[in-house]
């Protein structure tokens, strides 16, 4: 196929889409965040287990397109074991990359590098960012003592 689809639906993305990591609800999470893109109908709930300022586990329930599923799967995979600050830094890197504000190198990103192609499809950027924005929301809520109940967030 010599179509622009290649740039968007790279094999790594399709792989994560077909076998997403970290799926399903989590028992007694330390923090959760509900993310939605109302104009797409994308929705996900990100749940984190946190121990000693480190993310032990991330679980995601979602309805959404291939891009948002793949992106959230990559998040679940890469985020485990990171400190909250490292997780936020990575999230900021991804957000900057998607907005064409930075060009992180491939090694640093691993599978996430495949998301670079989404930049050519501006309407889909918010799909790729949904899980990451939910990550920011979940961590912020955790740090503020989970006082706000289940937080909601959108990339729109």
């Amino acid at each position: 196929m010599t179509l622009p689809l290649d740039a968007l639906y790279r094999d790594i993305i399709l792989d994560h889409y077909r076998s997403p990591r970290g799926r399903g609800a989590m028992d007694s999470p330390d923090t959760t965040c509900r993310g939605s893109n109302p104009s797409c109908g994308d929705e996900l709930i990100l749940a984190l287990k946190i121990r000693d300022d480190k993310i032990q586990q991330a679980q995601i329930t979602t309805t959404g397109c291939a891009i948002s599923i793949a992106s959230s799967s990559m998040l679940a995979e890469i985020i485990e074991g990171k400190t909250l600050d490292e997780a936020i830094e990575l999230g900021e890197t991804i957000r900057g990359m998607m907005r064409n504000e930075g060009e992180p190198d491939e090694l640093e990103l691993g599978d996430l590098d495949a998301l670079k192609g989404v930049r050519n499809f501006p309407v889909r950027v918010k799909c790729a960012l949904l899980a990451w924005v939910a990550l920011f929301g979940a961590i912020k809520d955790y740090r503020e003592g989970n006082t706000r109940g289940a937080v909601s967030i959108t990339t729109e």
Partner: protein, 424 residues
Amino acid sequence: MQGATAAAGAAANTSQGLDVAKLRADFPILLRTINGHPLVYFDSAASSQKPTHVIQTLTDYYERHHANVHRGMHTLAAEATDMYEAVRRKAARFIGGVDPSTVIFTRNATEAINLVAYSWGEQNISAGDEILISVMEHHANIVPWVRLCEKTGATLKTIPLDENYGLDLSDIDTLINKNTKLVALTRMSNALGTINNLAPIFKKAHAVGAVTLVDAAQSAPHMPTDVQELDCDFLALSGHKALGPTGAGILYGKAELLDNMPPFLGGGEMIELVTFEKVTYNHVPHKFEAGTPAIADVVGFGAALDYLMELGMENIREHEKEITAYALDKLSQFEWLKIYGPADVDKRGAAVSFTVEGAHPHDIAQYLDSYGFAVRAGHHCAQPLMKALGVTATTRASFYIYNTLSEVDSMCEALAEARDFFKV
């Protein structure tokens, strides 16, 4: 797969009344290629493409006639005013032959409906009143009423769907009652394609003294419109969905209603006499057209109406029934594809919504785009309907005068490919 060009010759011209192959030449954008494939534009329900006649009318207007309307003594001002007002008469004919002064130019159907909500609504709706809409309305015919209800304490009621994606009228005699002040319904659903038979409902509405409004944004471009036959008090439509430029739509209203409504926007042209203490207003339609209108867009809309009336709205409807029947037949052969909307083409227009098992509507739309097909995916500004259908989004292919059966064939091929691509 092959692009859409192959069969676009002989098979293209499908209808008795419409010479589709010929009229396609009037639409310059159809020469575009998208990702190396000829454009197949299946998104006319969102906004139609424009024939050269419309584009050329805009150019001619700006190159030879432009001036501000209504207040000028000079030749260009008189020409621009004549051209602008001629469209009012044309639009009045297009919707069934009404008094031109009952036709108000707005930006689009959305502004037309909001004008009614603000001007008529705030004067006539109060706590305890009921406004009746349906579950299949576009946000343009929901949000203004939700907000009016918030402001006034009125209640919003909704006609549900029946099992054929039509309006379920089993409770209509409860839904329309002595508290009902307004019944505002779409004549054609942009998400389902459903055509609603409004006259019997409006008859009940009038019997209890309610006012009726038709959202004709989807129907007017695709079938004949006659406000007398519809028995409606207000009707809203958008020019840009009917071959016209963006920026011009109309609100029709019965003279008695319009005359008694307060103005909407204030400014030039809508006034009679202005002092700092008191303003008296011009008569309709000018009372509702404050400031410099979208003159060129209105003039261009006139060219679109000419084009449509020349083709004949009946012929357009026939062509669309044919292509829709063809598409429904082909799509229903995919067991992994679900269609949302009536199966009977007598009861529906040319917007066909569907979902593909295991693939998100956005991914399907994206995949189709890579082959040059422009279809829409999402909630189609009808979130309550999506909720009622139990989906978050659908993919929608919508057809118009320039679409052909062979384009439908090609899309079906691409859909089968997409299904394989995303299958988990």
